[in-house]
Symmetry: C2
Subunit: 250 residues, 2 copies
């Protein structure tokens, strides 16, 4: 288990609507939770505007830094959908109608309804691998370690199953949460000691408000369940000494 | 109006809990909407882990690129709260107890309750300007063009009013939304023509599902209301020709 190396990913959220605050991004947490379950850790997310140079530069930066890169948004039929042409440019690949994508979309629409706008959704790097879309026809695509998905959350979700076999993950990251009726400053020093003694477990501390009362979630994350259990015990010990109420330990 | 230059901002969301998918970030849209209202456009958002080098590098990159930089998260009392020390490092400033912050927190807590964990919340660049926190005492801080805010959404919101006077915005960005009962591919070509003829208006097109039916939102954004109205008219004209139902034009 110790020999498996960490597999990391980056997410690029493409779209002015997220930067303007008009739309709340939810794809990041969908992708992160799904990737975690495959043993892939999301290391960075960037939200960038619909500007070709920005997309090209970010994709080229990310695909060298991370094992996998996921983009969301910008693959529809309108003028502001420039992800496919930008990815072609980033990889120096021909941008044009993708044979298989054209054939999928031709069958998807009624005769005479496969208009110019819809045909644009089949334009991408002509050598890309398709990511099938069971919800609305228009496929995403994959070039090397970069996977391009749509921005509409329900459609994105429906496409993830089709990619899983193309991803090689590490050990799945296990997490444990301890919810407490306390405030962070009461446990900060003891928790810091536990973190120092357990460097391989990633310990997070997050304040919350619930039913009008303050609380803290301690979250332990590590691929090794034994290391999590050891950490958990050390935390339970200091909580007992401090007489702090445990709401959940899950 | 034409002479005012565009004022741009970057947001750095600091926290493993967002990258793991455990917590859904909502601060980005809060900050973006608020900044828009001040005539400041958010140009990029990065979500990064609680790793000092990553925070230092991202802050130093952003503060040169953007007029204003906002960080969220990592200013609490626990071991994973490393924003204040990282910002000190990024600017080459002394990290230590901030006199005014110490005095605020001393008054905020009952005698004897201002423990080590709580004192840590007053540690920051010693020369920073404070951002007052009307909700929970512990202040944020500002160094040059970088503003450091907490991660808890309700606390962050309560602190924005205190910063407004320190920000110089451009012309407020006005937006107009036209919601349609159609699909993107029906309007793609005509909308593309309108965008080409109105380069200064940022036109976005976003598909949606509502009450089980497909629709499209067209969003026009520009500081100049006249340019938006001209665009709006051109769009209404082609919608009429195409007999597309308008749900809202607001």
């Amino acid at each position: 288990m110790e020999n498996k190396k960490e597999i990391i990913a980056g997410i690029i959220v493409i779209g002015n609507e997220i930067l303007s605050g008009r739309t709340q991004d939810t794809n990041t947490s969908t992708l992160s939770i799904w990737l975690n379950s495959l043993g892939i850790k999301v290391q960075e997310v960037r939200v960038i505007p619909d500007i070709e140079k920005k997309i090209v530069d970010t994709v080229n930066d990310f695909r060298k830094q991370f094992n996998y890169v996921f983009t969301t948004g910008g693959i529809g039929p309108t003028h502001d959908d420039i992800t496919a042409s930008s990815i072609s440019k980033a990889f120096g690949l021909e941008y044009g109608p993708h044979k298989e994508a054209m054939s999928i979309l031709e069958k998807y629409y009624k005769p005479g309804e496969f208009n110019e706008g819809r045909q644009k959704m089949a334009w991408m790097p002509t050598t890309a691998n398709l990511i099938l879309n069971p919800t609305s026809g228009a496929p995403g695509f994959n070039v090397e370690n970069v996977f391009c998905l749509p921005g509409v959350p329900s459609i994105l979700k429906s496409m993830l199953g089709g990619i899983e076999n193309n991803l090689v993950g590490g050990d799945p990251i296990i997490s444990k949460t301890i919810n407490l009726r306390t405030v962070e400053s009461e446990i900060a020093k003891s928790l810091s000691k536990v973190q120092n003694d357990n460097q391989e477990v990633d310990i997070g501390s997050y304040p919350f408000f619930r039913a009008g009362k303050l609380g803290v979630s301690i979250v332990l994350r590590c691929p090794d369940i034994n290391k999590i259990e050891k950490c958990n015990l050390e935390i339970l010990n200091f909580l007992k000494d401090k007489k702090i109420e445990i709401l959940e330990n899950i």
